[in-house]
Symmetry: C2
Subunit: 392 residues, 2 copies
């Protein structure tokens, strides 16, 4: 076994999930994530934790949902003569929050999700309504899972390498550069950005393209708390890798341009342009995937407001790989998400922007850019104010 797989397992168990002796840990292992699953199980045995391994197979999920679609379609055919009902799967075609999974996650101390399947589009032929209905019926299971010390990571697989447009060995190097960091020292650096955002009231982001303004957007962050997302539950951070500082903005005004390509619902989306007025998206465009973008923005009223401003600070990530787990953490990037805000950014009892979606969009700020907090430049051309080479 590549020594880096063991190191990845140790970072996940010790730094990220803070597993202790006696903890009940549920580990979900994707089809091709076997090797990391094995290394994590060994680490958990060494720590004196208990392990329950789930099979996190997208192909199994797809088969189950296709089975449900076939059943609902069959029932609709039976009813057709009388009622003309159609075959779309609804949330009540599923049992709400099956007891087995609810009981399992309620009893669990930690949940480690190890992604890395054989095909990133394994559920492409499942209807979007079916997937939404399934998610809706299992809201309680999801909440019980989120109440654990959960962490999501991936094992580098060939299918993820392909999604990234990289060779397999090259992709493995990429993943371990992002994951095997000095997290303690990155957390200290990121604390400076958290401090600035916590104290700040307004953020302005400006980028230029061909010398003309491109993004010029302002948003309020007054009263909101930034998360120092240092890849550990101890920092309210649930991704490995992480390496971003994020908060929940509101009252957004201006225009934003997102030049990092991404995939929404199996559709490639490129060069998104959003126009905000009074906190809402009032106009939008995309050079590719505009329909997928429109679907997202039309989900519910909250889908047209921002849920997140995030500043990527993981310089171990040196390229975009069409995976949000990595892309949004990359150094020299800033991202905005339309949709749901994270509770961790709100004060006790406050409700932030609510939506069924949370879609991140990323801007490269490595050149011709600046971010201001209350009028003071804190990052210019990707360089933070505390870094060498920063130009006021």
């Amino acid at each position: 076994m590549d020594e880096r797989v063991r190191e990845h397992a140790e970072v996940l168990v010790d730094w990220s999930a803070r597993v202790e002796a006696g903890d009940d840990v549920v580990v979900s292992v994707a089809e091709d994530a076997h090797e990391l699953g094995v290394a994590v199980a060994e680490a958990l045995g060494e720590r004196g934790a208990n392990v329950t391994a789930l099979y996190g197979s997208s192909e199994v999920s797809r088969a189950y949902l296709k089975g449900v679609e076939a059943r609902v379609e069959g029932e609709a055919d039976d009813d057709d003569a009388e009622t003309g009902a159609d075959a779309a799967v609804e949330a009540d075609d599923f049992d709400a929050d099956p007891e087995v999974e609810r009981a399992m996650f309620e009893a669990a101390d930690a949940y480690l999700r190890i992604g890395g399947g054989r095909n990133t589009t394994a559920t492409a032929d499942v209807g979007r309504k079916t997937r939404q209905a399934y998610a809706k019926a299992r809201q309680g299971v999801r909440e019980a899972r989120m109440d654990t010390d959960w962490v999501s990571t991936v094992h580098p697989t060939r299918s993820l390498a392909q999604q990234a447009g990289m060779a397999y060995e090259e992709y493995r190097d990429f993943v371990y550069d992002a994951v095997l960091r000095d997290w303690e020292s990155l957390a200290e650096e990121m604390a400076q950005m958290k401090e600035i955002l916590d104290a700040g009231e307004e953020v302005r982001i400006v980028t230029e393209r061909d010398g003309a303004p491109d993004t010029d957007v302002t948003m309020s962050i007054a009263g909101r708390t930034a998360v120092n997302s240092a890849a550990s539950v101890a920092y309210d951070s649930h991704n490995l890798p992480s390496g971003e500082v994020f908060t929940a903005p509101y009252d957004t005004e201006g225009e934003a341009f997102f030049d990092v390509p991404m995939t929404i619902d199996a559709t490639r989306v490129r060069n998104v342009h959003l126009v905000f007025e009074g906190g809402q998206v009032v106009d939008f465009a995309a050079e590719a995937g505009e329909d997928a973008l429109a679907d997202i923005l039309d989900t519910d009223p909250g889908a047209r407001r921002l849920g997140e401003l995030g500043i990527g600070m993981n310089r171990g990530i040196d390229r975009f790989t069409d995976s949000i787990l990595f892309d949004e953490k990359m150094g020299d990037t800033v991202h905005l998400a339309v949709g749901r805000a994270y509770d961790a950014c709100l004060s006790e009892g406050e409700s932030g922007n609510d939506s069924a979606v949370h879609v991140d969009m990323i801007t490269d700020v490595s050149a011709d850019s600046r971010m201001e907090v209350d009028g003071e430049v804190v990052q210019r051309n990707g360089t933070f104010r505390w870094e060498e080479g920063f130009e006021e």
Copy 2:
């Protein structure tokens, strides 16, 4: 997908586990059993059941147990200077019945175990004491699991083909011949054998080799109830394939010879000879693996008494494959097990032979053999009394 995989899934879900809409079904999928796991998930979606997939990986289990061994060894090293404690893993090195798994199985209606890993000796370097300690600490989890409608099957994999000494395609044909049967009609045939055993008081099995008596063993079955093991929970039968009728004998006398090779604890055992007096094994020999046999018989007092007499009646199984799931069900065979008796064979409140082990040993009865119940021949040279060609 091979159509037989779908058929296997349907037999498992409908005939064996009797899954109904709304059931919570836990499915354990071994490393290379993915394809059958997918087919089972689709069938469960069609039936309106809920599915939770576990990763039944022997390599993950091995890694966890090696982690525990390393921890216990480390602790023993720390203590060594003072106490000289040794590193053997004990049951209390594990948490007793971790809540996650207990809660999960207590909430489950059915548990489907799909075996089929990449290496039948995947846990060979885990200490036997460690495995026993782990099993002992999880007795409550095991009982909760056995209280569901559980069924154990295997997906044909290359490692099982190798264990059987067969080519992969050849082995797939073998498995589906055993699994895809007319179970209803086999259940009817087996009911005749159950009727004979339920009414009978004494069974005698005689085989000859080179014209001289080889096995000549008698045992009491008075008061015991035979199980018509027709591969369905509706028949108290939890294996797919099955196809045996078994009961719980006692007061065994005589000698028995078992000519079907088997593997006990990763040791090949051949040509076992047992001598019974007063219901107990008083002498034993084996041409290979005698030490492994001795270990088994010395486990506890119950390990020297019989727990099972089984009559193989699945003629879809035409050869020995060194897998008890198949071997003991094969037509033209009889097996005896030392160790634990099954509750289903006992009357309410009666306790049968108790032991930590249950080890089946098989005799080929296709020629030069007879089985008598209360002095009447019910099977001669493999042919049952109700079959054509039976000689009284």
